[in-house]
């Protein structure tokens, strides 16, 4: 079994902790308890015949990524960049944020995630998609659990080199 570090990042309140909890414990809460510092937890997942021990870092959101302690990024194999589909401010700096990440951790596998999908209709989602500076990889709802498992599985496959 291989161990790997995956980090959740993005602006505050976009639902990082909620995705973390949905993935780890299949639970969700409407209450917003902002993360202080960072919380590390783990989950072992099966990918085909391999096991992957994911150490997941849920980092406090900041308005801009350079406010996050820079060593939190280092040696990550995967980074999940989350934005809130209902708040344009959370995806407006996407290009520079992704550049920042790729600079900090060359070669890291990144997933760009639009969260809170449950709050949008199909049409609204299409409208937001057309406004995104970079297309997102996946749209999730930490509340209903939609695509959460899929997000982590596809990232794991990417880390293990099983998928581009």
């Amino acid at each position: 079994m291989v161990s790997t570090k995956v980090m959740l990042t993005g602006s505050f309140g976009v639902g990082k902790t909620s995705l973390f909890k949905q993935f780890l414990f299949s639970e969700f809460s409407e209450r917003y308890l902002t993360t202080i510092g960072v919380k590390v937890d783990k989950k072992v997942i099966e990918v085909d015949d391999d096991q992957l021990n994911i150490l997941l870092w849920d980092v406090a959101g900041e308005v801009s990524l350079d406010k996050v302690p820079h060593s939190y990024f280092l040696k990550s194999s995967g980074i999940i960049y989350v934005f809130d589909l209902t708040r344009p401010l959370t995806y407006k700096n996407m290009i520079s944020d992704i550049e920042y990440i790729e600079n900090k951790v060359p070669g890291v596998k990144v997933k760009i995630v639009g969260n809170k999908k449950d709050l949008l209709t199909e049409e609204q989602l299409e409208e937001v998609k057309s406004k995104l500076p970079i297309p997102a990889d996946i749209f999730t709802s930490a509340k209903t659990g939609e695509n959460v498992e899929l997000l982590f599985m596809s990232l794991a496959r990417k880390i293990l080199g099983k998928e581009e």
């Binding site: 161990s3 510092g37 590390v40 783990k42 150490l55 302690p69 939190y72 280092l74 040696k75």
Partner: protein
């Protein structure tokens, strides 16, 4: 006129005398210089003088090479050139650490000797040193006496990859909560503190937590964290540090790119061998 002639002849006399004195005084030196010149100019003479010294050194290095340089050289050679600098540094780090430690210990010994020789024998040197130590490190002498009673115990040892916080191996006396998570959180704390107090290359070395002290020793691409219960003197801290360097040199694999169960088991077995005993008994 007569005056000048007299002057001249007297200064000539002086010169002659000076020459005589010179030749008397410098006679031995001159002989020595001549001898050295002779040796230097005549190759075979020089060889006769120098060869034995060189040969002796060469022989010494030949005889003691394995002992003096064997281990690090073996391991350095093992590492293929095209492999990363990181691996090389992982090998060199503990060796460097050992050298620095030896140097510092030597300096301390010198200091101690100097103090011993200056202080009158009425006071025992141990007492004086103890007092100096307790002034420097802020431990009262009575604490130091007490610390003899409450022996420290190494409860847990974690070897953790830098930055990723991934656990590379561990040893513990009792079953604990998930070690992967402890390793991750410790790393997050360490990163946070080091980021927050961004002083030139300063690293976190000690966390006190209830009855526990968590010592942190940094290596190139990993760090080792030791949880100790009981009280810990400077000397015992030093012993732990020494053991860790020894462990790093002898038991740590150089390639830490892929962290899997096999690597973790290998490192954990190494830790077990080193720390599952009382390392403080003399």
């Amino acid at each position: 006129m007569t005056q000048t002639m007299e002057n001249q002849s007297s200064s000539a006399k002086e010169l002659a005398m000076l020459g005589q004195i010179k030749s008397i005084l410098l006679k031995d030196d001159r002989a020595e210089i001549d001898a050295i010149k002779k040796t230097l100019y005549r190759k075979e003479e020089l060889a006769k003088e120098v060869s034995p010294i060189v040969e002796e050194r060469v022989q010494y290095i030949k005889d003691n090479f394995r002992k003096e340089f064997g281990k690090p050289v073996d391991r350095i050679v093992e590492i293929k050139l095209e492999e990363s600098k990181e691996q090389l540094l992982n090998v060199i780090y503990p060796v460097l650490g050992q050298m620095i430690r030896k140097f510092v210990n030597y300096q301390f010994q010198l200091l101690k000797d100097r103090i011993d020789s200056q202080v009158s024998s009425v006071f025992s040197s141990r007492g004086i040193l103890g007092q100096i130590k307790s002034k420097i490190f802020g431990i009262s002498s009575s604490d130091m006496v007490l610390s003899d009673l409450d022996k420290p115990i190494i409860e847990e040892v974690y070897v953790i990859q830098r930055d990723s916080g991934l656990l590379l191996g561990s040893f513990s006396r009792k079953v604990t909560v998930d070690k992967d998570m402890i390793a991750g959180m410790l790393t997050a704390i360490k990163s946070f503190v080091e980021d927050a107090f961004q002083r030139e290359k300063q690293e976190l070395e000690l966390i006190e937590y209830g009855n526990y002290k968590i010592l942190i020793q940094n290596f190139f691409s990993y760090y080792v964290s030791v949880a100790v219960s009981g009280s810990l003197s400077t000397k015992e801290r030093d012993m732990i540090s020494e053991k860790l360097l020894e462990f790093a040199e002898n038991k740590m694999p150089d390639n830490l790119q892929l962290i899997d169960t096999e690597l973790q088991n290998q490192i954990s077995e190494g830790l077990e061998a080193f720390f599952n005993k009382d390392i403080f008994e003399d």
